[in-house]
Symmetry: C2
Subunit: 524 residues, 2 copies
């Protein structure tokens, strides 16, 4: 039991609403339950993710939270405490320094707190009379970020708030299709790198576009000469080239100035997916790495990666605000002509969604709280941490860092034991080490297939990947993770065959994760 | 100043993260700033929305929050307090009983509190190693809701979490297109009612489908005989019929059993957009109104309408889980084959998004807290409030309720003064009354074009619309709103011509909304 257990005294009516003048009092009682459950759940977890693998996590959640739709409810406090504590105990928590697998950032407390106001007020961004002030805040945010991407542009730049890079890329392709149609063409041909995020292919599929043509990416970056050859095959057709500034696997930035030159020479248009790299623009020292991005017609930009927002915080910046007109839509209940003529703002054409959470609020609070300089310093911290981490890997006798500078804040590495094996077995060892770390609940490390510059032919191998997005922890906090990786690699390479199917450690479905002991023999 | 102003004592580092064991302490300090700003902002607003119209709101927000991206930050507390208080002061707050324009619900405090945990932990639903427990919770939620829609189905039903009805309808059309393609057809023809939500037309446009065929909707509901005729024109082609259970304008439910019969007779498939009406299924008394819905291949279902969730809480239920396979996608970094074979769950094909907030958490907490019976009672409360409100309008000498039962919880009405004018001028008066209420900050009432059953030919007119979604306020709380509407109608019909362009009340850009006085002469 816990000092914050309050429902025995004064249960909150579970039908209490969050807003208006009465809401904050109910919300204060219930957020206290949540904060306590978050703290208790993190202690119970005791690491970056729960031990035991999928079956153990599922058993724990179901034990405490089923049935999720009972006939009669449990009341607000009990439901909150049990479910929030279970989801915390069973989280892969990016705020833990050893959770580094993905472009999955630890959100700032200031952003998460601001997001509570979005939940409580529930402004919906599809009409003025659902979000009068939230719409103004969104306009301020999108204007600032559009100017960050397109400083001093001849056109008036603009930006849309999206659910993430996937939606940003989808809308970028949709706008390109509509520009083509407006010019009397049937469709647009997308050309992207082999390094492009899968959402580019998926967007083309959804929108009914031809399958994107894929350009070679030797060493992980799009090759301008290969792009030139590919574009030659589409002469006379509308083409959208999609370059990447911060690839998911390696954090690499395509050579934007050269790609912009080639694209322009063919009369094509350039979109840059800077979902990962975009926030380098906050830093005067790092912004030059994105030189050329301002030549793109549109730029994908996520603030739930480097930007430390809870999902979702996607942005699509466009060089010319008029492009957005292709999303215009009229629905009498939301933006009747006479209302618009009378001065009520029309926001329906700002998104492919209708009801829409004001994600701009948490972004605005974060931008104001930290300023451009503060955000730039956090980005620089992550880049520096990656460099330090790469150096630490290089200095480790049992690990090998992939040769070359880390891409943005991504470091690829592998156990030397994997190099000693035939290629397929080496890759299997890498995958097994990663899964072993997940199963032990000790480390959340990613995986990426990438070329090995130390081989003659740039052989493609499976690597472990650390995506370093924590704004406050440094490489020293990761020393234990390196020891752990080396230890697991030693065990996996001498123990059961790495090619054997992965069998999760046995977990009793009734065993409580709170009393689960970690796997033995792992260095502390 | 305020007892909760804390930054002078111990400012929270704005780079503090929200998760892990240390996060909740920072989050507790910052959520207190938010709760205070929510309470203070609601008092300053003093009504359902701010007075003064778009210009006054914009001036207030900009005065307190610009520049949104300064070079140096203001710190976490100041940014939170200023922005949250401004967005609250300038909100159209659905927790206020007089905010009834849209399917824009007051979120429950329990749901908003649960959503804070989603923000703090930031699970992303695109892979197991970003959301181990959150994925289990989502699976429990989707299973429960799929069984609610499809009880005792022969197939195994399933459900996806979406960003709302718009995405649900989009995915429903996408799945229909892919079923057609899998059967060797090129595309699918969508057939919907004239009463369908605009997202159906928009989805067809995005997906590159033929323009949907539109079926007549006399009295606001899809006519089965008209559907039969339309389907006759598409014999031999894959067709998806989209019916609506709870239209946006009138809350009406299409005759689902008859439409299902006609659809089946033509070998077509049925999708039901029950974004509004779906939660009637929580109530044993109201569920029969949706009889026939279980014959649809897919059902759109929003819990940010009747369901009282903060946006987003969309659901797409499908009768046969195998349908979802069409969304499958493989990305090595998220769901490599060997990881999936080794037992790591593959969630990438559960959404058209990639990074994805765990909206299922707040839904799960709400379902558990209230139970099916508790939720059913809240839905019944809203339906009853609409009936009571309609009776109150009918009893008002200066107002006229649209004849017939209210659709779900939607009531259409208009000032009798509008009926006394020629049609166009009457409609203009209705629109002017609505805008006047918005400008005064006294009422957020919607608008809808719908037939008038009291005319011989069912003439289409503009109506005021009240969408009653508040789970705790009743018709008595709306009496003042009716007085206000009648008062505004009297003023607008005798004052400036309702055909004149709407001119917002003059507002000084430097005038603070906190000291703004309301328009005079409005009944209290």
């Amino acid at each position: 039991m816990n000092e914050h257990t309050i429902e025995a005294q004064s249960p909150v009516n579970p039908a209490s609403v969050a807003g208006s003048t009465e809401g904050p009092a109910a919300l204060r009682e219930l957020t206290e339950v949540v904060l306590t459950a978050l703290a208790d759940g993190a202690v119970e977890r005791g690491g970056p993710l729960p031990a035991g693998g999928p079956d153990a996590v599922a058993a724990d959640v179901r034990e405490h939270c089923s049935p999720v739709l009972p006939l009669d409810g449990t009341g607000a406090e009990a439901a909150l405490r049990e479910l929030v504590q279970a989801v915390t105990r069973g989280a892969a928590d990016p705020s833990d320094p050893h959770c580094v697998a993905h472009l999955h950032c630890p959100p700032l407390a200031v952003a998460a707190a601001a997001d509570l106001a979005a939940s409580a007020l529930n402004p919906s961004m599809d009409s003025w009379d659902q979000a009068p002030a939230a719409g103004v805040i969104e306009a301020e945010v999108t204007k600032s970020l559009a100017e960050l991407v397109y400083p001093g542009a001849d056109e008036t730049p603009d930006a849309l708030v999206t659910s993430g890079g996937t939606e940003s890329n989808l809308v970028a392709l949709l706008l390109a299709r509509e520009r083509a149609r407006a010019a009397g063409e049937r469709t647009v041909q997308v050309v992207c790198g082999a390094n492009a995020h899968h959402s580019v292919q998926r967007a083309a599929w959804m929108l009914g576009l031809p399958t994107p043509a894929v350009v070679d990416c030797p060493a992980g970056r799009m090759d301008p000469r290969s792009l030139d050859r590919v574009l030659g095959a589409y002469a006379g057709m509308p083409v959208l080239v999609v370059a990447t500034a911060g690839t998911t696997d390696e954090g690499l930035i395509d050579p934007l100035p050269e790609l912009a030159d080639v694209t322009a020479a063919h009369g094509a248009e350039l979109h840059v997916d800077a979902a990962y790299g975009g926030p380098l623009l906050f830093s005067d020292a790092l912004a030059p790495r994105l030189s050329g991005i301002e030549r793109a017609v549109s730029v994908t930009f996520d603030l739930h990666k480097l930007g430390w927002q809870p999902v979702a915080a996607g942005i699509l910046a466009v060089r010319d605000a008029a492009q957005v007109d292709h999303l215009s839509f009229q629905a009498d209940y939301l933006n009747a002509d006479d209302d618009t003529e009378a001065g009520l703002p029309d926001w329906l054409g700002r998104s492919i969604r209708t009801s829409r959470r004001p994600d701009a609020l948490k972004i605005a609070v974060t931008l104001r709280a930290l300023g451009r300089r503060g955000l730039g310093e956090l980005v620089e911290h992550c880049v520096r941490t990656a460099q330090d981490f790469a150096a630490a890997v290089a200095a480790h006798p049992e690990l090998r860092v992939r040769a070359g500078e880390p891409g943005i804040s991504t470091v690829l590495f592998r156990p030397r034991a994997a190099d000693a094996l035939p290629a397929a077995e080496g890759d299997a060892l890498v995958a097994a080490v990663r899964r072993r770390l997940l199963d032990d609940g000790r480390g959340v490390v990613g995986r990426a297939v990438a070329e090995d510059p130390e081989t003659d032919c740039g052989e493609r191998k499976l690597w472990l990947k650390a995506t370093l997005l924590h704004p406050r922890t440094g490489a020293a906090d990761l020393a234990a993770l390196l020891k752990l990786v080396a230890h697991c690699a030693a065990e996996e390479s001498t123990g059961p065959s790495p090619n054997a199917p992965y069998v999760p450690a046995p977990a009793s479905p009734t065993e409580d994760l709170r009393t689960r002991t970690r796997s033995q023999g792992v260095p502390q």
